[in-house]
Point group: D2
Chain length 135, copies 4
Amino acid sequence: MPISYDRTVHFADTDAAGVVFFANYLAICHEAYEESLSASGIDLKAFFADHGIVIPIVKCEADYRRPLSCGDKLRVTVQPALLAEDSYEIRFEITRLGTSAKSAARVRTEHVCIDSGTRARKALPGPLSAWVRAG
Amino acid sequence: MPISYDRTVHFADTDAAGVVFFANYLAICHEAYEESLSASGIDLKAFFADHGIVIPIVKCEADYRRPLSCGDKLRVTVQPALLAEDSYEIRFEITRLGTSAKSAARVRTEHVCIDSGTRARKALPGPLSAWVRAG
Amino acid sequence: MPISYDRTVHFADTDAAGVVFFANYLAICHEAYEESLSASGIDLKAFFADHGIVIPIVKCEADYRRPLSCGDKLRVTVQPALLAEDSYEIRFEITRLGTSAKSAARVRTEHVCIDSGTRARKALPGPLSAWVRAG
Amino acid sequence: MPISYDRTVHFADTDAAGVVFFANYLAICHEAYEESLSASGIDLKAFFADHGIVIPIVKCEADYRRPLSCGDKLRVTVQPALLAEDSYEIRFEITRLGTSAKSAARVRTEHVCIDSGTRARKALPGPLSAWVRAG
């Protein structure tokens, strides 16, 4: 079951072309990821700090379909999937809500769990693995 | 009656000191301003675009009282006041919610309405003036 | 001949994991794109404003290879290529400079020239086409 | 002797009003602060991480005088001054360069050195104190 996150476009997300700056679509998807982790009981402050294990994003891809303006109402769906015992992907879809909802972007990120000292791959911690499997 | 806006601290708000970057407190306050304008019926996309009249921020001040971490729950209050027929200030307070709510920052911004071509001061448009007076 | 852009990692680029936030690699590549356009004589303010023709990014991809910290010295290479008369891609490589320079990320963006009113595809303007061909 | 830092306005600094977002003036000043610290031999990665001592910004103020557009060339001067043995202020001036250089903003930040565990004030570390005194 994908999780969804609602978000209004802020003025700070936009650029001088009048619409959301391309890199900010990724930041918006990351917020949806954070909300979803938090909803599953994971403590965000501890999760994103470096306590020996870190889970960096190693790849991302985005397809931009529609421009987004300040005040637009968005819904972001978050669909994680295991790739291996030490990695997962997340597929995000950003929909612009309104009288006719429209897909505004699709984003995919790939995450690998590593030891922050040695950079060796490590199995996902249990609560994170449970979050991915429940996605 | 001050308006309030609830917001979770996002990972993208933080910096390598582990807490919200000082300039991002101002961006968070601006979001609260946008929500408040929008709640009063002002169309944000039109408001922030340049249609001959613009209302730039000419001053801001911030007192930082507490660090904020990813996942922290915030409440931002927005208290506008007229300074003249062509300008207003907004006082924001950011509170970190939790078992004991704490003031995290106070921010003040000053806004002046001008003609974007001539840079001459102009009286506030009616809906904006009404928003300020209702604050 | 690829164009290169040197940049120091700023504190505001980083997040609470102590390294550059994944979306900010894309913003850094966009700066390199801007510098390269500017060096070829294109006026950035006019280029990025909406004057009837806009050239949005329709896809991007990034491979992240190394974390980047505040103060790191980067070199970004910019390699554009035509995809059609109305579109081009840019391949960026971010290298972390130092005693042994290391590739930190590869990024690819895809750009399409459109009429901002009708969203119909348009041939690239001459100076932009010349920039792509010279890349 | 004030230190100066040159910077081009990036597209990501701007917002849908076509000019630099007000909070980003502060981020630009912080870059100038980083460059100045780095030029005095201070290691930025270690300086901004939390190693028991942190030096948060406790106040900031900005006067905005001119809008800034993508591609504008800026010069930022950095003038630190001791306030006490555990605190200092920095005065920044952002000038838009060109045929007639114009002041675009004045910014002031106030910094206090504290123990990150107890939040008790601490005297500035020697290299930082030397940087402030040389400013």
